[in-house]
């Protein structure tokens, strides 16, 4: 079981990810914007953070920059779960410090396994 924070401004997509992670036994918490997300990561004890990228206010790029510049949070695996799936998006996202990338629509049967793989890779 891992403690996972999920940040997405779309309530339905947030619900979906939380539901899947919890169904597979993880302790998942949700936030619906970048500001609240940042605050939660800084104040909580999360093993991994999943975040949408295009959000009003602090978006995923900014979130990644701030977390990776913060030594208390830099080591927490940060995964983009995003509908930005045009050529070049994955590279742009990796470029700001994300540790992983999952394109929307997610594949529900393998989503949790994908997240866990990133969790274990980072945990080595």
């Amino acid at each position: 079981m891992a403690r996972i924070l999920v940040i997405d401004d779309n309530a339905v997509n947030l619900d979906l990810m939380l539901y899947l992670l919890r169904a597979f036994g993880h302790a998942a918490e949700g936030r619906s914007d970048g500001e609240a997300g940042l605050e939660a990561v800084r104040g909580g004890q999360f093993d991994l953070v999943l975040t949408d990228v295009l959000m009003p206010g602090i978006d995923g790029y900014e979130l990644a920059r701030q977390l990776k510049a913060d030594e208390r949070c830099a080591a927490i695996p940060l995964i983009a779960v995003t509908a930005l799936a045009m050529p070049g998006d994955r590279e742009r996202i990796a470029g700001v410090g994300f540790d992983g990338y999952i394109a929307k629509p997610i594949e529900p049967r393998t989503f949790v396994a994908q997240v866990e793989a990133l969790l274990h890779r980072e945990g080595r």
Binding site: L16, Y19, A83, M86, P105, I106, E107, P108, R109
Partner: protein, 377 residues
Amino acid sequence: MSDTPAFSLEDLAGSRFPLLEYAPDATLIVDADGRIRLLNAQAERLFGYYREELIGQPIEMLIPARYRTRHVGERKGYYHDPHVRPMGVGLELNGLRKNGSEFPVEISLSPVNTSDGTFVSASIRDSSERKAFERRLQELNTELETAGRAKDQFLASMSHELRTPLNAIIGFTGTLLMQLPGPLNPEQERQLEIVQSSAQHLLSLINDILDLARIESGKIELHFEPIVVREVVDDVASTLAALALEKELEFTTQIADAGEPIVTDRRALRQILLNLANNALKYTEAGGVRIDVWSSNANGRSAIAFSVSDTGIGIKPEDRERLFQAFKQLDPSNTRRHQGTGLGLYLCRNLSSMLGGELTVTSEYGKGSTFTFTLPR
């Protein structure tokens, strides 16, 4: 060449040299002191003077006051080193008409040796039209760039906006089918599978349409680099292995030429092979699909050939050309049965020609088809 030219300045003005008088460019002959000695009809028209008003006057009379001092210096320099200076080369200059109006000019200069000494011939062209045309061209280019950016932005937004609700549809259909909230009865399961495959189909359509839009706007960025063919073929084979297994089809690859790497775009090559092999598996109910790679020759040049063969339904000869058109599935009832978007082969053919290759098909109706893709080395 003789040191004494065969004609005088007078000759230039007369009927021996009608070219000068009727030249389409304004032409002025100027002496060492910068005084106008001869001019043609077009020069009168261009500057709005009668000939008599200009003869004997300094050439600077035809130049706006702010350029005059500099021009005297340049003129003297040119006399010390006379050479042919073509039209449009050198400084931007304006002409000054009798009525005081200015206009942009292009000037070409050349020395003229006569029995009366050396003169300079200046041909002058009003470049306002060309300048206006250049400006308009620049404006149009800017407009095109803006439109291109708007289109890219539109495609990117469309992709993002369509994927977001699709994520919820595919996601929650998946959780239900995984029976995470609770068991399903067989009819519920059947209906949810229809939702799921329709959503997947919609996603394929979105992906194909975006690819197509990028190809047609020249937005596909190709990165030509050395590629190990076997890696790409193995990747395609492993991606489709599950589909082959599910349909109980034999799926094999045979690389007769595992020689040196070829230089091409990995993503495009992968997409072509993936589309062809995916089609082959889709349209085959019994038997198998194989991918072959071998060394070949295309128009006498060394090439590498890829083929994807199946033992599927085959294609009637009269249908072969329609096959590569967008949104043309041969049998409309196939759309439901095979979940194709009707864009796959159209994309493949576009991509293969972008790689400099050629995509062809041979088929025996009822027995199977072979799609062959030849790429120059």
